[in-house]
């Protein structure tokens, strides 16, 4: 059973987290996530990817762009996954590729979550004309076909590089999160404790930051995870289509170069399969973690 983010009882969730907080030294949300079996597997997988990314220079036997080996070789003891058409080590590229995916996920996830929060919170709290204008942009962001827009933006931009990809993904990806946060704040802002804060003399900014946002933490985490996952997928897709920077080592560019370099004709399955598999595993880890997040928001799914 999945819970749509719109129906999450974020306050109850926060309270459970605070309770779990009190009973251990770890943050409460972490305790709840950790108790969910599937989520634990997902978290361990993600942790493994992070370790690999951080320790890439240690783990990878060669530099990712070092092209002094024989071209298009099959797997061997020296090159576990073979070499590329330009004579680079596929295994080393695979290891460094984890960095790109995670950085894109992290940065684009953070950026689009920030935009979504700023837009969603402002629209939902202030309502009125401000809301109407911002909602128009949110809806615009939702109806614009994302993939073509990404391709156009990435294709026509004068510079190429990871930064561009991140910007493209952020620009196209914030709207969904903004809509959910707007809906949530609209229900939260009518709570009596918000009125009480006004009577206590608190300013609007303080009310949003201290009364509302803490009750939305889970929603923000969910939004971030979704955005990060989308960004990782989008980066791989754009790079695979050849719209990335060919100098960046990423699983997408690997796939792109493998198909251009004739991996199929030379029978280099490992070159073709490895980046796809790595990507699939990373996506799986996010999906597994989502089970835990569902459990966070729905007490019945919690492993008590």
């Amino acid at each position: 059973m999945t819970t749509t983010p719109e129906t999450i009882d974020t306050e109850a969730l926060r309270v459970t987290a605070l309770d779990a907080d009190a009973s251990s030294r770890l943050p409460g949300w972490f305790v709840i996530l950790w108790r969910n079996g599937k989520c634990r597997v997902g978290m361990l997988m993600l942790a493994a990817f992070i370790v690999i990314a951080v320790l890439a220079p240690v783990i990878a036997p060669y530099g990712p762009r070092l092209d002094e080996f024989g071209a298009s070789e099959g797997p061997s003891a020296a090159h576990w996954l073979g070499t590329t058409a330009r004579g680079e080590d596929v295994f080393s590229q695979l290891i460094y590729g984890a960095r790109t995916s995670l950085i894109v996920g992290l940065v684009a996830g953070v950026l689009s979550t920030l935009i979504a929060m700023a837009v969603g919170l402002t629209a939902g709290y202030l309502r009125g004309v401000v809301d109407e204008v911002l909602s128009f942009f949110i809806n615009l962001g939702l109806v614009v076909p994302v993939l073509p827009l990404m391709i156009v933006l990435a294709g026509y931009a004068p510079v190429k590089g990871l930064g561009l990809i991140i910007i493209v993904i952020t620009v196209t990806g914030w709207a969904y999160g903004a809509r959910i946060k707007r809906a949530q704040i609209i229900t939260l802002r009518t709570r009596d404790y918000i009125t009480a804060a006004k009577f206590a003399g608190d300013s609007t900014a303080r009310i949003i930051a201290f009364e509302i946002v803490p009750n939305m933490i889970s929603l923000i985490v969910v939004g971030f995870m979704g955005a990060a996952l989308g960004a990782i997928g989008a980066e791989a897709g754009l790079a695979f289509l050849g719209l990335g920077d060919p100098q960046t080592v990423s699983w997408g560019t690997m796939l792109n170069q493998a198909s251009l370099g004739g991996a199929l004709t030379t029978g280099q399955w490992a070159w073709l399969v490895a980046p796809g598999l790595a990507l699939a595993l990373l996506i799986t880890s996010f999906t597994l973690m989502n089970f835990g997040i569902d459990a966070l928001s729905n007490p019945h799914l919690r492993e008590d």
């Binding site: 309270v15 605070l18 009480a196 003399g201």
Partner: protein
């Protein structure tokens, strides 16, 4: 053989993070065919847990840890979930307080009926005329057939709860569990639904287990009443017997919260303290710490549920003494000393008003597409609030009470008329001036569960007004917050300062809400139904607290309510509002005793009078 037989049933919550709680402890009872049984007790006494256990609706971390449940001779204690499904709804059905919110929001009422019929077509046959049957069911709960084509969000809370009741009765069950089915609804609506329910029950002959903390209502409806305390049944008597000759001190305490507001002198009692923590073992009687007549043996000997009078009672005193009533009368005497709140004839001193409302009207414009509709929420209302006095504002839902509160507090601006605070007009304040004005005018909310931010501690909640309005910070603010908690009876304050709202009971939360309203030392307090969400047994306590604060601190209070008994206890003056117009006003006793307005009369009629059914 009884329809429902429960033997030695125990239910334990075993949460992962805290100690196990024995929420239901070796409970035995029976419900016969067509019998209407009430189950009473304060919140947290295990009533809902027991009800859910009987229907096998318990969820982790709760589990049945002993005993048996037999329905119609069949043991259902361990029946697999799949076999239960055919039993539920067809033979056993239920309405909860939250049932109205569990209607599917995206389908019409007709569809909800059709789905219910379809899910149980084996019991009904396939050629059922959905509309005809649904109309018949809706008529049973006094709803028009036009409701069929509406969506849940187009219905009021009361209407939704009626639909839920009609759905529960759709398959003519033999047993219906009602868990606080009308709590949270308008008193008059509650009354309507319950009266209807009683008539239906008599006609269709289903058995009912009616769970409520509102003893007056239960006594009036039920044939037999069971009182539950701390997971145990402490008394079980026929309803008429319970009203006049109850034996357990707890039952006596619960009954003490009722009185007729038309009497010259009105007294209500309350039971101080809270039910015990069931995760700890207790020797002796569980009620002992709160019992006014406890003897030494009560601390060590755990009483059994033994036959007494026409039913059963769990109390050592009743066991020992030949005539337990004498003991109870003594208890009542004892309690009267400090646990009674009384309202006599109050004499009104005419102090200078602090807040004057003069000819105020409010018209709301609502735009739906191109049509603009005007709603006259408040129509030419004038009154004044005086220090040290309470003015009650009574009226049906939608009569404009809250709009008046919003205008008083500057949340809303009046369309016409003026509001003056100490001769300063306050009806059109700008942002900054409004913030300053609110130092003097504070609010107490209805729902203690939404009035406190669930993620902020008590100390934080209290520190904000202290800092913003009085400029207190740090240790100073904390010390003042502690003082405030002591003032509202949360003592020792250190125990409460760092608690989160969910660690407090409803009554304790409401005390925190009151403390927060008092923090900036306001001259005017608007209390919007501050006790309607609380257990009946602690309402009197909160009323007593408000009364004391008003008199001690010279606060002018506007007390908004549906509840004439509390208005009678607290208010010096009553105003009755009907569709935005003030239809009655005057000294409380005069207005209540000689009610002229039809709504005021309805409110009076809605006050439960335990035992009334037998007299009538």
């Amino acid at each position: 053989m009884a329809l429902l037989e429960v033997r030695d049933l125990s239910v334990t919550y075993s949460p992962r993070d805290s100690a196990a709680v024995r929420a239901v402890d070796r409970v035995s009872f029976e419900v016969h065919d067509g019998e209407f049984v009430g189950l009473l007790g304060e919140s947290g006494c295990g009533k809902s847990t027991l009800g859910n256990a009987v229907l096998r609706l318990l969820d982790r971390p709760a589990a049945i840890t002993g005993g048996t449940i037999r329905f119609d001779g069949q043991d259902v204690t361990t029946t697999p979930e799949d076999d239960l499904r055919s039993l539920r709804w067809v033979d056993l059905s239920t309405v909860f307080q939250s049932s109205m919110n569990s209607l599917n929001p995206v389908i019409t009422v007709r569809r909800q009926f059709a789905d219910t019929f379809e899910a149980h077509s084996d019991a009904l046959g396939n050629d059922l005329d959905v509309d005809a049957r649904a109309t018949e069911l809706l008529e049973m709960v006094s709803l028009d057939r036009s409701v069929l084509s509406r969506f849940p969000h187009e219905l009021s809370g009361g209407m939704k709860q009626r639909v839920a009741l009609a759905l529960a009765l759709a398959l003519e069950p033999r047993f219906v569990l009602l868990d606080e089915p009308t709590t949270g609804l308008d008193v008059v609506v509650q009354r309507d639904i319950l009266d209807r329910l009683r008539v239906l029950q008599a006609r269709l002959g289903f058995a009912v287990l009616f769970i409520s903390h509102d003893l007056g209502t239960v006594m009036e409806l039920a044939d037999r009443v069971m009182v539950m305390y701390a997971g145990e049944i402490v008394e079980d008597q026929p309803a008429a017997e319970m009203v006049t000759r109850h034996l357990h001190p707890y039952s006596a305490g619960l009954l003490g919260s009722y009185a007729d507001p038309r009497d010259q002198v009105v007294e209500v009692e309350f039971i101080p303290g809270r039910p015990p923590d069931l995760s700890q073992p207790h020797a002796g009687c569980l009620f002992q710490p709160r019992c006014p007549v406890a003897v030494d043996a009560c601390r060590t000997v755990h009483p059994e549920l033994l036959p007494a009078s026409l039913g059963q009672v769990r109390c050592l005193l009743v066991e020992q003494s030949g005539d337990a009533r004498v003991v109870l009368e003594k208890a009542a005497e004892l309690r009267r000393r400090d646990q009674v709140f009384a309202a006599g004839l109050s004499e009104r001193a005419d102090a200078e008003p602090v807040l004057v409302v003069d000819g105020v009207s409010k018209v709301y414009k609502t735009r739906r597409g191109l049509n603009t509709t005007l709603t006259q929420a408040v129509d030419d209302v004038s009154f004044a609030l005086r220090p040290g006095q309470v003015t009650a504002l009574v009226g049906q839902s939608g009569s404009g009470k809250t709009t008046i509160a919003r205008i008083l507090t500057g949340v809303e601006r009046p369309t016409a008329g003026s509001v003056r605070f100490k001769d300063e007009p306050v009806d059109h304040l700008g942002r900054g001036a409004l913030r300053k004005y609110r130092r003097h005018v504070q609010l107490v909310f209805q729902d203690p569960f939404s009035a406190l931010n669930p993620t902020r501690t008590v100390a934080y909640a209290l520190s904000r007004p202290l800092r913003n309005h009085l400029g207190l910070t740090g240790a100073e603010a904390r010390a003042r917050a502690a003082e405030l908690l002591e003032t509202v009876g949360l003592s020792p304050a250190d125990q409460y300062l760092d608690k989160l709202p969910h660690q407090l009971s409803g009554g304790q939360r409401q005390r925190v809400v009151i403390a927060r309203a008092l923090a900036p030392e306001p001259e005017v307090v608007v209390a919007d139904e501050p006790i309607s969400m609380l257990d009946v047994s602690i309402r009197a306590e909160i009323i007593a607290l408000l009364d004391q604060l008003v008199r001690d601190r010279g606060i002018a209070m506007l007390y908004i309510t549906h509840d004439l008994l509390s208005a009678r206890l607290l208010a010096d003056e009553v105003m009755v509002l009907n569709q935005g117009v003030m239809v009655e006003r005057g000294p409380t006793l005069d207005v209540i005793a000689e009610a002229k307005d039809p709504y005021t009369r309805k409110l009076l009629a809605a006050i439960p009078r335990p035992g009334a059914r037998d007299i009538a």
